[in-house]
Symmetry: C2
Subunit: 227 residues, 2 copies
Amino acid sequence: MKTYREENYLKAIYQLANHDKSKSVSPTDIANWLEVKPPTVLEKLAILVKKGYVTYNKFDGAKLTQTGKDIALNIVRRHRIWETYLYKELKFSWSEVHEIAEQLEHINSDKLIDRIYDVIGNPDFDPHGDPIPNKQGKLPKSDRRPLSQSIKGCKCVVLGVSEHSEVFLNYLTELKIGLNDKLIVEQINAYDDSLKLSTKTKEHILMSAKAAQQILVQCIKPNCACK
Amino acid sequence: MKTYREENYLKAIYQLANHDKSKSVSPTDIANWLEVKPPTVLEKLAILVKKGYVTYNKFDGAKLTQTGKDIALNIVRRHRIWETYLYKELKFSWSEVHEIAEQLEHINSDKLIDRIYDVIGNPDFDPHGDPIPNKQGKLPKSDRRPLSQSIKGCKCVVLGVSEHSEVFLNYLTELKIGLNDKLIVEQINAYDDSLKLSTKTKEHILMSAKAAQQILVQCIKPNCACK
DNA sequence: TAATAAAATTAGGTTAACCTAACTATTAAA
DNA sequence: TTTAATAGTTAGGTTAACCTAATTTTATTA
């Protein structure tokens, strides 16, 4: 039996593990993410370990087993399908979809997910550019990197964002930077790593390194010097 | 704070009260409806009474206060809007929609409900012919009565059903009786109150009194002799 | 490296939502 | 109208999901 809460714990572990792959997922990380206290997390972790969804020890932190990963990826799948549906079919904005999808992802009906996935045309990516896992939990390939890794002169296309906060998304909307937009890196400030960008519609856009880290792009030229 | 369970208790009381208006809503009724045991219901009733959503005593049973009724009607509204949306937009069958709507009705987003209500064209009735309360909790007027109350020769139109079970809905689908279909009561069997009906597509349909009680109709002739 | 800060853990407590068992009050039937 | 059945109620217990406070580890830093 997968409950709403269990799903959220597994998804949190998945997301935290993916957010920073170098770091292990600690009880405190999970507690902050889910807005509960560490003892609550420890308690739940013990249950998830017993159910075979997670392994845990102080040094490696919490890790999903294959079963746990399958469940987590299914929730991620549902979430991203709903986000896309809300955005494309029901005309919600980029920044509104997340919160509603957060509820809808727990609706238990494979047929409903299949149906709306069909309606949106079985896409590989959601409106934030995040990959939608398939039913087997496989993620579509994509070669994305932060805009902040660009070098001067690089031409690239926006494929997604790694931050989904409303402030950040609204900031991008203001700058008129959206999914699939082409960017040219005019200049990089050596002091604070801020960049100057141009798009079709606008030139000399100034952007902080902080923001550039959250924008995921791909070089357009096949052998671009960007790493 | 209205939780998922609280919403279900209030909805149950509303539905039981409407199902049989002559009878008071007892703890046992609610327990059977929600598939829990009577002591669980008593406990929850005490909380709902304290919150001002319900009144309760042994003789009158559980009754919704105005606040309680408002909440219950809002859930009923969401449920019926989702049913209609699933049926009309996502091509689910008559008999499939209920179970999924049962989950979707608890999604908390007025904007989402408004959006899908718009998409389906702001109808007054759902695909079972049940009235959709408006935002203020007002039900659209309709003059429906069970088919079983018809007299011989009556011409009427199907406006809904009062039973929503899958067996019953599939039975109607088999008989090719659907919403807005016209029926003529050919004959009524005096012994067991079963009736013989005809529709556009079929004649001499035999139907038990039990089934006829669950079909809601309206006479077509303005001064029909049916009561 | 000793002191301090931070994280992990344990102990023990609360609340909501369930339950069974036992008892009391009603209602229905013999 | 006594008895039997049913419904309502109380008592007491469980589990999940939270919490705080205290303790033990582990890291950090002076």
